[in-house]
Symmetry: C2
Subunit: 107 residues, 2 copies
């Protein structure tokens, strides 16, 4: 298992936020969310997995448990199991987010 | 639980690599490794936790399972449970690494 050039995996879709798989183990998964201006992930809740967002580029509005925060590069937010969370990119820049998911949804 | 300014948590020690806790849930932990030039984390193995490195700044040599890779900003490496892993910063720059650990060591 070699090194992963995470930034090179970024791919944006004109239609909606792109979710790119970066790495996965039995215990945790790393995704890259590529969120164009005006794109979003609707608020939703997972019963039994925790998520941590870390913004790589751009800025976006992130909600977790009813509170909304604007996060920029180098900032993180936790969305624990059972807590409603979502995000949107008001623009004008692209938003690139590293997302930790534990455990991986398929496990 | 509000946003976390991860870069602001960086703290370097003259003596050895500093490990800073960023966030923790029952399923996963996020740490920040602040590795000065010449500093390292010796190769070691965890029986039952997976680790993912993501380099934020600088560059370093990372080993996982016998292979050594030089990682720079935006690059990641997985060290699954049972696989020996470690890192060192040959310098001259500081190395800042986001480290995903699942599950948290204390759980």
């Amino acid at each position: 298992m070699g090194k992963i050039r995470v930034r090179d995996l970024a791919t944006f879709s004109p239609d909606r936020m792109a979710k790119v798989a970066v790495a996965s183990t039995p215990r945790v998964q790393l995704d890259l969310y590529c969120v164009g201006p005006g794109q979003s992930q609707k608020a939703h809740t997972h019963a039994d997995l925790d998520k941590i967002y870390y913004v790589l580029e751009g800025a976006g509005r992130f909600s977790s448990g009813g509170a909304t925060e604007t996060l920029g590069a180098g900032e993180a937010l936790v969305a624990p199991a059972g807590v409603e969370h979502g995000l949107d990119n008001p623009g004008p820049d692209r938003l690139l987010v590293l997302v930790v998911v534990a455990p991986p949804p398929s496990h």
